[in-house]
Point group: none
Chain length 172, copies 2
DNA sequence: TATGTATGAATGAATG
DNA sequence: CATTCATTCATACATA
């Protein structure tokens, strides 16, 4: 995209693109991670953050994200490298990923997505083949379209779809 | 465990991308959220879904999840209270670009041992346009396509400082 | 300068 | 509703 922080403020917010862990910080984090600490508690996060702050600026959010990514990444690596089949890793067979990815590499990024049906990417990718003009296809039963999902919320009808909250809406 | 689609590992079925709210949808959702509607009733969800469906494919579940996440992440706590700098000079000039509603703490700050001009400025975001065709939903990024209409990204662009971690660690 | 990779960060969805 | 997971985006850095 273009201006991340200079938009509203207009001042020099000195945008830090993103936190870059120093080697020391990384070592500490790695060590902690190796200790078997899966999801550090808030207190732990604060502690770690404080410790790491001695070796460079850092926030609790950074630490949290780090662990979060670490776990996710580690798991992903395991699945791909282990004896597990895992044939599809990062296939990314999306319709047209070309234009999407290249917009950041260059110095210019367009916010103006060209109107194209191919780019349709939603919960029901299959419809892309026979998508009309997405006029009345916005039916709430988008998930119902697949039989695979029927087991979850298929027979539920209109509202049973939320298995996580069958009563999320009580008072009107 | 519910296997949505990815579990089958059928590389043919492709992977269904998660719902990506269009700028318009996001604006509407944001607006509704700002109205103070905490937990929209089922009827409300239906209504919203119907409204949003005019701007792209969406299901009630998407709306429901959105509000759930919104509420959860909106609570963004100031965890950065402990994060202090030690040997590095921290600039407190960081300010809040705006104050829509998700203006979390001003603890964003990182990058330490690399004094360099972080002045990134590309172009004006005015290039964004709202396609009334069938492209509104095919936004390649849907991030800050329209920064002016949504304060979501308006605060700091992609870096929402805090957004996913309001209480990451439980009791420990 | 352009491309590829590693990884921090954002977010929709799932689970408890 | 709180927390965690999984996926994707975007950027820092290495490389040609």
């Amino acid at each position: 995209y273009c201006d991340p922080l200079m938009a509203s403020a207009g001042h020099r917010i000195t945008a830090r693109q993103r936190w870059t862990p120093t080697p020391v910080q990384l070592q500490i984090l790695d060590q902690i991670f190796d200790q078997g600490t899966g999801s550090p508690s808030k207190q732990k996060i604060k502690d770690i953050t404080l410790e790491l702050s001695q070796h460079g600026q850092i926030s609790e959010m950074n630490v949290y994200n780090w662990f979060q990514n670490r776990r996710a990444r580690s798991k992903r690596k395991q699945l791909g490298s282990s004896s597990n089949n895992a044939e599809t890793e990062q296939e990314t067979e999306v319709e047209s990923p070309n234009e999407k990815k290249t917009n950041l590499g260059t110095l210019l990024s367009q916010q103006n997505p060209a109107p194209r049906a191919d780019d349709l990417c939603f919960q029901s990718p299959e419809i892309s083949s026979e998508l009309h003009f997405l006029s009345e296809m916005s039916s709430p039963s988008a998930y119902n379209g697949d039989e695979h999902l029927s087991g979850k919320m298929g027979m539920l009808g209109s509202y049973g779809v939320y298995d996580q909250a069958d009563d999320y809406g009580m008072a009107g």
